[in-house]
């Protein structure tokens, strides 16, 4: 059963990565590069925790995380889409602002015990040996993460709106010429990314470590960005990549607990180092990267009028 316990922790560590990376994937498929995932995630974490602490209901917390994440991303959307500010710089600004504002809002919650999001058992399925506890005795956010992978995949490749979104990401000029509302679609994609990042943040402060600490996202937003590249903008690969990173994170924690004789700092650095290595391996194949990257990613669009 130790394996099951480890797998469970891996799933818990991977879920916020998967969710936030999926959100960013949709944003980037629409041609927008939002580097502010870390900031939106930390805002989601603090608002989810605060809302839970105030109302006593972690479900209100989840909603608060989503809503605040989406609203916060609107700031980015307004700057980059309406005012065509530089996307890279604005994303950084969003992260800096998010870390600052969350630190300030969360100050009174530091050290408070949190309320964990309850487990929901799916009848019958939960009783399957081994798989049951892993997949069907989970919390709401885990179920959402799986639903999101399936939903985003369907949306992008089977629905007309998803087709339009990909078209906008491929060539905003052509999309505009065909009468597709480029800016409107991009706003929606950015907000979806923000909502996902907020949800991921809620998972951190309601499940992963049910408490609030400053900067508790600890670079996960950036790892999510790397995951999108790793997944070459495909939802199922985000899921796989997320679990891979979850495994690295949990693996190093277990190694620290076991006291393998490697300094704990080196083990803590492992997920970050792994991100770099994975990025190098993925981007090494220039041809693949070129084919997969949404062609108008990061480019500003100003329609003629």
């Amino acid at each position: 059963m130790i394996i099951e316990a480890i797998l469970l922790t891996i799933i818990t560590a991977a879920t916020p990565l998967v969710i936030s990376a999926l959100g960013e994937l949709v944003t980037e498929r629409a041609g927008v590069l939002n580097l502010g995932v870390e900031g939106m995630m930390v805002m989601g974490a603090v608002s989810a925790f605060a809302a839970t602490a105030i109302t006593g209901s972690p479900y209100v917390g989840v909603v608060a995380g989503i809503v605040v994440g989406a609203l916060f991303s609107l700031l980015f959307g307004f700057l980059t889409l309406t005012l065509v500010a530089n996307q890279v710089a604005t994303g950084l600004a969003l992260t800096i602002l998010g870390l600052g504002v969350s630190g300030m809002l969360g100050e009174s919650f530091v050290g408070q015990p949190g309320i964990k999001l309850p487990q929901i058992n799916i009848p019958l399925l939960a009783d399957i040996p081994f798989l049951g506890p892993l997949l069907f005795k989970q919390d709401l956010i885990f179920y959402l993460s799986i639903a999101l992978v399936i939903g985003v995949n369907w949306f992008l490749f089977k629905s007309r709106a998803g087709l339009k979104l990909r078209a906008v990401g491929d060539s905003h000029a052509s999309a505009h010429a065909l009468g597709i509302g480029v800016i409107r679609l991009r706003y929606l994609a950015v907000m979806f990314g923000g909502a996902c990042a907020g949800l991921a943040g809620a998972q951190l402060s309601l499940i992963y470590t049910p408490q609030w600490t400053e900067n508790m996202t600890a670079g996960r937003g950036w790892i999510a960005l790397a995951l999108v590249v790793f997944a070459s903008w495909r939802p199922w690969r985000v899921l796989a990549g997320g679990y891979l990173f979850g495994a690295v994170t949990i693996g190093q924690l277990h190694a620290q607990a076991l006291g393998v004789g490697i300094p704990s700092q080196f083990l803590s650095a492992l997920p970050y180092a792994a991100t770099v290595v994975v990025l190098v391996l993925i981007s090494h194949n220039r041809r693949m990267t070129l084919i997969n990257t949404p062609a108008s990613l990061g480019k500003a669009f100003v329609p003629d009028r």
């Binding site: 710089a89 870390l99 504002v101 590249v229 970050y272 770099v276 990025l279 190098v280 981007s283 990267t289």
Partner: protein
């Protein structure tokens, strides 16, 4: 109501100069609203943050101490950003510079020649440059996104420093505190005017770097290469400039300046290595670079403003009991407003009220 942008026939000189000022003013207004919402007297709070630190000579020295690393790093970053290389890991390069520069005074603490500072500073620059060489190598030869790699390396550098000061480099006579030995006096960066305050030579380095880069950008072929490659890689290739070479140059250059900032901070302001040696200078410098319009002299001014937010934030915490987190909020707001105001340089902004479009058509 809708916001429409209309491209200006040419860049607006007026808004180029005015946009940072407008942004600053908007930040002040937003800050005042924020303090009011927190139940503080906005005037009092703003006074504590932006005015009080400027009223005392010793405090001006502190301002210079905080501005020095910001300016040094931001001047280097401006070269990166102008050439379209998005080094956002200056914080890590700062730390690595501090660590490399500290090898002599910490590991070889018995060796204390008069000129110890010189190799310390040089090693600091080498340390920062080497650390920046990692994302440079990965971008130039493996096409790896430098934004993500340089940022990941920040976390690694922080953990590495933490390990050093708790492990091999911990002061054996330091009662188990996680810090290294104090640097010997020959390893301490001297103060500029020691009678009046603590400001050290790091500030002078920052000014020299700003002037040097300003000269390079305006008068030399190197500066021309930077701006051409930054605006169009294709045109740069046509001119015979190597974008790969520019990745190396800009990353190593900014890494070296961040490293110099790191060793100057440790040697001049702190005097030893500790687990945390920077309140996020490497990230704040990104704001400084943009607020200064990537122009070296603008960066000097912007560095002073951002240093003021650090200093004022600390002061306000003591005097009126607002959280020191407001510093970060102010910095984030400032960057947001700068980026929004920069739109005015390229575009004219028009508010279109719904229905007006048709009416306009009839009128004209």
């Amino acid at each position: 109501m809708r916001i429409e942008l209309e491209r200006r026939p040419r860049l607006s000189k007026f808004f180029m100069a005015a946009s940072p000022l407008i942004a600053f003013a908007m930040t002040i207004v937003a800050g005042a609203i924020m303090f009011a919402a927190l139940g503080k007297n906005p005037i009092e709070a703003l006074d504590a943050i932006f005015i009080m630190p400027l009223m005392e000579v010793w405090s001006l020295h502190e301002l210079a101490i905080k501005a020095a690393p910001l300016i040094l790093i931001a001047v280097g970053l401006s070269i990166c950003y102008r050439s379209n290389n998005w080094n956002i890991g200056a914080e890590g390069q700062f730390i690595m510079g501090a660590i490399f520069g500290s090898i002599l005074p910490v590991v070889f603490y018995g060796w204390q020649p008069e000129w110890l500072l010189l190799p310390m500073l040089i090693m600091g620059m080498i340390g920062g440059a080497l650390y920046a060489a990692v994302p440079a190598l990965l971008k130039a030869h493996f096409n790896t996104n430098e934004i993500l790699t340089s940022l990941m390396l920040v976390y690694i550098a922080q953990l590495f420093l933490d390990w050093l000061v708790r492990g091999p480099w911990r002061n054996p006579e330091g009662f188990n505190f996680p810090e290294t030995r104090q640097f010997a006096p020959v390893g301490v960066l001297p103060e500029i005017f020691s009678e009046s305050g603590r400001a050290h030579w790091g500030f002078v380095f920052a000014l020299v770097a700003a002037v040097g880069v300003a000269f390079m950008m305006k008068y030399t072929l190197k500066g021309f290469q930077i701006s051409v490659l930054g605006q169009s890689e294709r045109a740069g290739r046509f001119a015979g400039f190597s974008s790969r070479g520019m990745i190396w140059f800009s990353m190593l250059f900014s890494g070296a300046l961040a490293g110099l900032a790191g060793i100057s901070e440790v040697s001049g302001a702190i005097g030893q290595l500790r687990p945390v040696i920077s309140p996020g200078y490497g990230f704040t410098a990104i704001i400084v670079a943009f607020l200064g319009r990537l122009n070296p002299f603008g960066i000097v001014a912007a560095g002073l403003v951002l240093a003021l937010t650090y200093l004022g934030g600390e002061g306000a915490q003591l005097s009126i009991g607002v959280s020191d987190k407001v510093t970060r909020v102010f910095q984030g707001l400032l960057l947001f407003f700068v980026l929004s105001c920069d739109t005015l340089i390229l575009y004219r902004i028009r508010l279109v009220f719904s229905g007006k479009r048709a009416a306009e058509g009839d009128a004209a």
